[in-house]
Amino acid sequence: MAQEHNHIISTIVEHKPGVLYNVSNLFRCRGFNIDSISVGPAEEVGLARMTIMVRGDDRTIEQVVKQLNKLIDVIKVTRLDPENIVTRELALIKVNAPSTKARSDIINYADIFRARVVDVSSESLMMEITGTSDKIDAFVSLMKPFGVKEVARTGITALSRGPKSVKVDE
């Protein structure tokens, strides 16, 4: 078996109903695995950017890119070079904080990780944290002893560094 790695694929797609279905369906029927997918409007009105993290060997990833390119509503597909990108993920984490001690410990950790407290109740705290997936993983595991009630993560979004851009040719 060839070696499997995580790859990040950045795509520009038509921003219209059904496109997410087309893309996710392609992954399902060809047996590719999506690790995470994040979608939002791109720089041009009418287009969206999908950032897809996928696991596989080089041959699989090449097929992913080619098959994505075949979809009519997919305009541009780029494999991002892992050495030369900025990746970010956002997470909301709700943690048990029944005592003042727990609360102050949590807030201390949050400061170190540059997480922000966004909601407080008598028994819990909600924090917002942005960063690489590793950083978020680390923060979540640090919170575990306090009792993590809920985690919501956005999945990775990414852009390549420098002035070059994954843009649509006219």
């Binding site: 059904g18 087309n22 369906n25 392609l26 098959q67 509503d73």
Partner: protein, 567 residues
């Protein structure tokens, strides 16, 4: 432009696409469109089942090289064409389906899409993985552009089926219509011209080759590249093997023709392709039934792979020179460059070897025991038909016998379900082919199992006056499955015995067609000669032994080198 309804716009748009015929079945969600069809010059052929309509459109497309159009109503009508679309998708055939859909809204909002209305099915969701493109229009004004896009996408690049779903209220809604000649689709720009550098690399390999060979796939048929293929093969004296989908793209009576490779390929093709040092593969996707196990497929050959679909390059086989382009223009360019560098080759040691092996295998060919066997019948059939006759096949033993023993000469004269292996495809496809080429005799080589799956289209062929000949190779079995049970499951025939019903001759007669049962090769010849002159469809029922196997065969999980000639 004056205001028109969505239904009128659809028919006008289809006319602008030069559609002459639609295979379809009406229904509630298509009533406004059928009302416009009533006095349109587009011929409507009423199928007896929507699957038949889809396959007929496919047969029409394959025989003519143009888009074939089928129509079905919402819900069950639409889901009945699903097999037809999946079939067209795997064989890259430009079939266009127009489906009716329930209203997008109604006054009391009880019939909206998404509310599980009567005869509602999410046909867009269902057909997404089996169409090249599909779309649902949301208003009448969108229809002209949607039709243009659908035809453009289905017929260019690597062709494929497309579907356009039209809610009933958009069919009656009026709008100012604009009919675009061209559409700009940002995410769809198929590349047809080969990269000059890649062509140069291919030429270099071919010049050095001692044992070059061509593997021609369905892409050669699709791009009408047969003349270019023939010229290039003759220039370098390259033997030509075809994949199952490539059959008929190279004249099989030509000395350089090797026949098909694959699980039921010829011994010649399966042997010689492994001896080649350079393989020029054109318009093929190296499907498993063609290559056998990949580890044993041409391990020592340099492979040049020409395909218009970039995703096919490197999908199954690693290649040395990939060329993403149209088969026709690439073959032409390769030849143009070669002609400058060499004279037409004559008898090379390689060609002599191929000739020797060909003669040996031909002399050893087993056409079965007894007077009336499928291989003998197919050899006889070739003598009875003109070169331009079109053969359609069903799926199973009948199909593999036809591929092995019926010699095709002209391109697009062999129409068969290669990728999906759809039983029941052949007969409606034959009807579609006959509509496309009314002056060519069209013969469906059928098995009794497959023919039963779409035999109701006898009604279509008789009432619409589309005469074809159906040859039922009747072993009262699902023969190919029975063959595998005989070979690999100790002869435990599980769920394959169909019994001797119906009487196919009487069945044909019940529909007003001709039906005859023959008992010898001679009787078959006479029946076929008569059928070719008859102006109505004829079903010729040919009893054959249920014990007959299709050979040669590459056993499942084996390589081409393991081709078994017979038991």
């Amino acid at each position: 432009m004056a205001k028109m309804t969505g239904a009128q716009a659809l028919i006008e748009a289809l006319k602008r696409e030069k559609v002459e015929v639609i295979f379809g079945i009406s229904g509630g969600a298509l009533l406004p469109i059928y009302d416009v069809l009533y006095n349109s010059d587009i011929r409507h052929i009423l199928a007896r089942h929507e699957q038949g309509a889809a396959h007929a459109a496919d047969g029409y497309a394959r025989a003519s090289g143009r888009a074939g159009v089928c129509m079905a109503t919402s819900g069950p009508g639409a889901t009945n064409i699903v097999t037809g679309l999946a079939n067209a998708y795997l064989d890259s055939s430009p079939v266009i389906a127009v489906t009716g859909q329930v209203n997008t809204y109604s006054a009391n909002s009880s019939y909206m899409i998404g509310r599980d209305a009567f005869q509602e099915a999410d046909i867009i969701g269902i057909t997404t993985p089996i169409t090249k493109y599909n779309c649902q229009v949301k208003s009448a004004a969108e229809i002209p552009k949607a039709v243009r896009m659908t035809f453009h996408i289905a017929t260019t690049g690597r062709p494929g089926p497309a579907l356009i779903d039209i809610p009933k209220n958009t069919q009656t809604e009026k709008a100012e219509m604009e009919f675009p000649d061209n559409v700009q689709i940002r995410g769809y720009k198929p590349n047809t011209e080969p990269h000059p550098l890649q062509v140069k690399k291919a030429v270099k390999l071919l010049l050095k080759a001692e044992r070059p060979m061509i593997l021609a796939g369905g892409g050669v048929n699709l791009s009408n590249a047969s003349p270019e293929l023939l010229q290039l093969a003759e220039l370098l004296m390259m033997p030509v093997a075809t994949t199952f989908m490539g059959k008929s793209c190279f004249p099989e009576n030509h000395p350089l023709s090797m026949g098909n490779i694959g699980m039921h390929g010829t011994r010649l093709a399966n042997k010689m392709i492994l001896e080649a040092d350079v393989l020029l593969a054109v318009g093929t996707r190296f499907q498993d039934r063609s290559t056998g196990t990949l580890d044993d497929f041409c391990p020592d050959a340099k492979i040049i792979h020409v395909d218009i679909d970039a995703a096919e390059i490197g999908k199954n086989v690693d290649v040395d020179v990939p060329i993403v382009a149209d088969a026709k223009s690439t073959l032409k360019l390769i030849r143009q460059q070669l002609v400058k560098k060499l004279n037409k080759k004559e008898n090379t040691p390689w060609v002599n070897r191929v000739k020797e092996v060909k003669e040996k295998f031909l002399s050893e060919m087993d056409l079965g025991k007894g007077d009336l066997t499928a291989p003998k019948l197919l050899k006889e059939l070739r003598k009875l038909l003109p070169e331009n006759a079109i053969i359609a096949t069903e799926v199973g033993q009948n199909q593999m016998w036809a591929a092995l023993h019926f010699q095709t000469i002209k391109p697009r004269t062999f129409i068969s379900s290669g990728g999906l292996g759809t039983m029941g495809f052949g007969f409606p496809a034959a009807i579609g082919a006959k509509v496309a080429c009314p002056s060519c005799p069209v013969v469906d080589i059928a098995g009794d199992g497959s023919f039963r799956m779409t035999e109701q289209e006898l009604g279509t062929s008789v009432t619409e006056d589309i005469p074809v000949v159906v040859v039922v190779l009747n072993n009262s079995m699902l023969g190919m499955v029975a063959q595998w049970q005989r070979l690999f499951y100790k002869g435990r025939y599980s769920g394959v015995k169909l019994g001797s019903v119906p009487d196919f001759a009487k069945l044909a007669q019940a529909y007003g067609a001709e039906g005859v049962r023959v008992g010898s090769l001679n009787e078959f010849s006479e029946a076929m000669k008569k059928a070719l002159k008859t102006e109505v469809t004829t079903v010729i029922d040919v009893p054959i032994s249920p014990e007959d196997d299709v050979f040669p065969m590459v056993p499942p999980g084996k390589g081409l080198k393991d081709t078994v000639a017979g038991l």
